[in-house]
Amino acid sequence: MAKSSDYLSRAKRQYLLRLLFALLVVNIILIATWYLVTTKVHAHILSNIKLEHALILIILAILSSLIGALLLTRSLLSPLRALWQQIVNLAPSGNTSPPNIDTLKVGRELVADLASQVMQLASATSDKLSSTQSPILSRDFIANNLPLPLFILDPQETIVFVNNKAGDYIGIKPEEMIGKNFYMVLDMSFPSDSTFEAWLKKAKESSATSSMSWERVRMNVLDNHPTLLFDLAAYYNKDNPEHYETMAVLFDHTKQYSQDDQAVSFVALSVHELRTPLTLLRGYIEALEDEINSTGNDELKDFMQKMSATGQQLTAFVNNILNVARVDNDQLSLKLQEENWGDIVNSAVSAISLRAKVRGINIETTIAEGLPSVGVDRLSIYEVINNLLDNAIKYSSNGKVIKVDAHMSKEGLVETTVQDFGLGINPSIMPNLFTKFYRDHRNRAQIGGTGLGLYLSKAIITAHGGNIWVRSELGKGSTFSFTVIPYSQLAAEMKNSDNKEITRGAHGWIKNHSLYRR
């Protein structure tokens, strides 16, 4: 930031001085001419005040030159200033209003693209000109004046160039990074499977020039240094000279993104405080249920059932919020163990059946015979089934049926569907269905919920290596399906670890490189 404004004011000073000088010369000539003409005509009037007059005229010339130069500089520099403003907006922290994400995405890729082209130009010209002749066009000059961390990789993904800003940013001297493997130096985690490595691999396979940007990338640096959070833009050009194949530019957002994380932690903390009283309430409801069931009063029994169902719902909601906070903070870790899928589905269904029962809804479960055992994290997968059933109950009218079906998919995965015959989902909102806080606006008034359930379910299923999707028809109902992986497929992965279980991060943070992948 400081660098960019320095640059602008330096340009301004240079323009101003040159213009001032030019205008001064022009004005003095003009005024002198005018003075000579007038003195000739009115020599008898002006002859006595010649010196004073000359002084006034010179001051007039200087003043008018100054005003003219200022105005001209302003107008000449305004496009440059606008351009700088754009760059500053794209550049990290310090700008007060968060810019529009969509325009930013384009902008980031553009910066990487532009940087790459400038570097190409610089390296092409520096071949022909000696660096002393054209310091302004030298690669190092340009790269080191770019107010963003920049990395250039060769076809082997070895770092061939790093600018000073990048060195400052990650706290390693540029010369110590050069010649090392990019993934070894930068331990990055991405918010999804779409990683830098995956993109670069694809770009190389199709051997086409390509640019891409990522948001909320994390990087662990030195031990006592906080985790860096940034957006990343990259540009790949197969035909770049000097093996400058890939260029990566970082846009720091550590401050802004970590504030978001803190907000999540605050929510998680407050929700956590709800857990103890909620546990107690459910405990007392359970104790009371025993007593009331033995009295035989049907109305009281019915009330107790409803209380118990409501308690369960509230618990599920609190767990959802806590888990979303874990996903967002890279703290949800799954322990995949061998489980009988039929048992899991049946017990998840039976746990929620009370809630269905009080709404007069019946859940029909079909488990295909001979299903292989699966590799899942029991508690997390429970929550997925619970969330899908909870939605099915919410969006079904009373007295309807919900069908749960577990079977093998064509791809050899264990597929489970939850089908309701309720409202159905508007096609226009389908793409946003698995997004955080997204809910069908039509139903917001009648149907409660947080819009976290599907987001969380997707995160959990993705972390399991499975897939989740939906088919729906308005007025006829929806079918949510998800897959989990048979345990035998995970066995190979298990062999490589001495543990009897596999620990995985949430979909949220998949390590960039296979070397680091958990």
Binding site: H272, R275, T279, L280, G283, E286, A287, D290, V318, L379
Partner: protein
């Protein structure tokens, strides 16, 4: 959990449970459910007293909360698992907590204990079912 647990358990010899838990209401609920499930329960809210009771080696199961006054559950666990401080312990130790633990901390605790229960994830009756399976 279904009610059949209660019937089968009442026929077995009563197992002794020490419940070190400073949240009185939780302790009360656990005691009630465990009594019904055929266990004999001693409640203790203080860490030091809880440790002394545990070391008396009279119990089959110790339910150990992590957040208790005077000694933390982790400290108690460490002393109970240290042969120089606790030469013999027949009891199985079940950690009960509502705390969010860091993964490595939790793993360390789980290694030393015989069970790890997040209180919010189980109702008292479900806890009884859990103990029936573990003991």
């Amino acid at each position: 959990m279904d009610n059949s647990n209660e019937l089968t358990n009442t026929n077995k010899p009563h197992k002794k449970v020490l419940c070190i838990e400073d949240e009185r209401f939780i302790g009360e609920l656990y005691k009630r459910a465990l009594d019904k499930g055929g266990y004999e329960v001693t409640l203790e809210i203080d860490g030091n007293k809880g440790l002394a009771l545990a070391q008396s080696d009279e119990f089959d199961i110790i339910l150990l909360d992590l957040m208790i006054p005077n000694l933390t559950g982790i400290e108690i666990l460490r002393i109970l698992r240290d042969p120089s401080k606790t030469p013999h312990l027949k009891a199985k130790i079940i950690i009960t907590t509502n705390l969010e633990q860091r993964e490595d901390v939790r793993e360390d605790i789980e290694k030393q204990a015989d069970g790890y229960v997040v209180k919010a994830e189980l109702t008292p009756k479900e806890l009884v079912g859990f103990l029936d399976n573990i003991a």
